[in-house]
């Protein structure tokens, strides 16, 4: 079971510069654990206190995971996951 995960520029320090890596997992949570096993340190950039960080967006097949179960969102072979940090700020 392989799922392609697109990695944003800011997190490519964890993937040796790779724009996309392959990972496995039946849920987003399991997928992130698998990413962490191969790219140590990346999980902490995605998850805080057991939940997805507020300003990190994760999409499964173009759906924002916040609307499809968050970390419990289910994955299947061939799915595509995209990680994008929010573009946000405030005065």
């Amino acid at each position: 079971m392989a799922i392609e995960v697109k990695i944003p520029t800011i997190l490519r320090t964890y993937t040796a510069g790779e724009k996309a890596v392959s990972a496995e997992g039946k849920t987003l949570s399991a997928l992130i654990d698998d990413l962490e096993a191969n790219h140590s340190g990346i999980k902490e950039r995605l998850i805080d206190n057991g939940d997805l960080r507020r300003f990190v967006n994760v999409y499964i097949n173009d759906e924002d995971v916040r609307f499809i179960g968050g970390l419990d969102a289910e994955l299947k072979d061939g799915d595509q996951v995209v990680v994008l940090p929010a573009v946000a700020g405030g005065c």
Partner: protein, 146 residues
Amino acid sequence: MLTIDQATYDAIVAHAKRDHPDEACGIVAGPEGSDRPERFIEMINAAGSPTFYEFDSTDLLQLYKEMDANDEEPVVVYHSHTATEAYPSRTDIGLAMEPNAHYVLVSTRDCFTDGGNDDGPVEFRSFRIVDGNVTEEEISIVPTLS
């Protein structure tokens, strides 16, 4: 240094004025590694707020897919401050996630004068924000990118 053409500069300022008193935001994309801000893309501030901006998450994905397909990257990420100076706030710094981008800040706080005119001065400044460190840079406005 940020080198930007007059038309793109004007478009950013016009967007900031139009959305005042809410914060305006957007990017200027360019070929990866070129440092050329070529394609101006206005974004909707999903927060619709005078003190915060955030790209809508669906728009964000669409934008990055488009840039990916074009081998582009965000060369400029801009937003406006409508009541404070054009300098990155603590929130701006904490959330700056594009180490290669020029972060452009526009302040419209002084550009609206009594009587509804919007031709007061606009502050337009550019910064690098990497690992929480802010460095202001010079801006060169050129008629067209050479």
